[in-house]
């Protein structure tokens, strides 16, 4: 039996992307396997680790907890969309480098998405607000202190 495919049209990082997907394909797998946007990481695949965070219509969500077909007609932003087309890092990404906000880098795309969403809504957050914003993102290397410092640094620079 061949599985039914559904036509989808999603704006990904400002670019209209069309696809034909089985209903059960998760959004993160479509982004990675079909669009080859492998910046979004797959971690736990059941909504616990936050590595797969993307922006859905501007708000951070877990792309492992959505089917690609559900993104039809919506806007999705991934970590690839944070940097410029030429590849220059965003101020937040620069701050992560400078403050040593990553070691292995596995959680980093999700951390960046969560932190960017916070900064978009609250340009000068408190440390508590930063911790709340990344509270759903697990890091197993740095222990979060430097990630928080990186977000504070990016916020400070935008003054």
């Amino acid at each position: 039996m061949t599985e039914k495919l559904y036509e989808i049209s999603v704006e990904v990082n400002g670019v209209r992307c069309e696809g034909r997907v089985p209903a059960r394909l998760s959004l993160v797998d479509w982004l990675r396997e079909e669009l080859r946007l492998t910046g979004t990481h797959v971690g736990c695949e059941h909504g616990v680790c936050g590595a797969c965070s993307v922006l859905l219509d501007g708000e951070p969500v877990r792309s492992c907890l959505m089917y690609a077909v559900q993104a039809h007609g919506h806007r999705v932003g991934t970590v690839e969309g944070l940097s410029s087309a030429e590849g220059a890092l965003s101020p937040l990404q620069d701050a992560f480098c400078e403050a040593h906000g990553l070691q292995c880098g596995y959680c980093t795309p999700g951390m960046l998405i969560a932190a960017q969403a916070l900064l978009d809504a609250t340009p000068h957050p408190t440390e508590e607000q930063i911790r709340e914003a990344i509270g759903g993102n697990l890091c197993r290397c740095t222990g979060y202190a430097q990630i928080v410092e990186a977000v504070l640094l990016a916020a400070e620079r935008s003054r």
Partner: protein, 294 residues
């Protein structure tokens, strides 16, 4: 297709509640409503549930609203948790909702998760079913043959079981607003990490008169059995009193004796009972103080 985790299913995306109900009437128990999917998608990935048809209600705007009326706040079933959490007027009228939502998952899950979804999923440790029980929320169910209203205590029938029939869809939640001027609420929970499932959660609301005597009280616990539990008789003992600390301890002890929580890898039955007693006492005192200063 590589990478898929869920069993195959047919995807439907109704544009109206009527259309959703028609799909449910046609497919019955083979169909499942998906709202935010924050619990259903992992359950499907683990193949704990295998619906053959998903009815996606995310594009039904008629299920997304928040209407604050004098007697109650009416919230559409597909309203995102974040929308409810951020509403300042609602937080003033029904403070338990924001307090509880702060403990529901994380920003990313609340952006997608819905109020109706939390109730329909009915996890025994979930925060919103507890608040629904403590406040006596009304749940409106809709099917192709009409609407019916169910009270929270009849809605929550067991662990992850509700009174929703296979052909029904949760349409609206009505949260009673207490109109007493001196009303105070408190929500507390203990979890391994903030945002994790609660080991035990407690929600309390009390109203005081001008002399600081309690005129109305309600409290309940989650994480201590198949469903959240409210304690109307124990809460009734507070009415007419000044909710003195000694009475608070007595009521909290009685509540803890009344339950038989389970043991699992995260917490023993004894520890959960201890948390229940402590959290009931703490939320009662906190709610009393809030009401006294209102």
């Amino acid at each position: 297709m590589k990478c898929v985790k869920s069993p195959a299913f047919e995807y439907t995306r109704p544009a109206s509640v009527e259309e959703a109900c028609a799909l449910l009437a046609r497919h019955g128990a083979d169909a499942k409503v998906i709202a935010g999917g924050q619990s259903l998608v992992p359950m499907m990935a683990m193949r704990l549930v295998r619906p053959s048809v998903l009815v996606d209600i995310n594009e039904i705007d008629a299920l997304k609203y928040l209407a604050i009326e004098p007697q109650e706040a009416r919230i559409g079933a597909c309203t995102r948790q974040v929308t409810v959490e951020r509403d300042d007027v609602l937080s003033e009228r029904i403070p338990l909702l924001r307090m509880a939502l702060k403990c529901v998952g994380h920003v990313q899950t609340r952006n997608r998760g819905t109020v109706g979804g939390s109730l329909a999923h009915a996890d025994p440790s979930a925060e919103l079913p507890l608040v629904a029980l403590v406040l006596g929320a009304r749940l409106r169910l809709r099917s192709a043959s009409g609407r019916r209203d169910v009270q929270a205590r009849e809605f929550l029938t067991g662990a992850m079981s509700t009174a929703v029939r296979p052909d029904e869809c949760l349409e609206e939640l009505g949260w009673p607003a207490w109109r007493e001027r001196r009303t105070g609420a408190a929500f507390m929970e203990v979890s391994i990490r903030h945002g994790d499932f609660a080991l035990v959660a407690a929600a309390t609301q009390v109203a005081l008169d001008a002399q600081a005597r309690c005129t109305r009280a309600s409290f309940g616990l989650a994480g201590i059995g198949a469903t959240a539990v409210a304690f109307p008789e124990l809460a009734g003992r507070l009415v007419g009193t000044k909710i003195e600390d000694a009475l608070v301890e007595e009521v909290a002890n009685a509540a803890a004796k009344h339950i038989s929580p389970g043991s699992d890898m995260h917490a023993s039955s004894e520890y959960r009972r201890h948390l229940a007693r402590v959290l009931v006492a703490r939320t009662l005192r906190a709610a009393r103080e809030k009401a006294a200063s209102a």
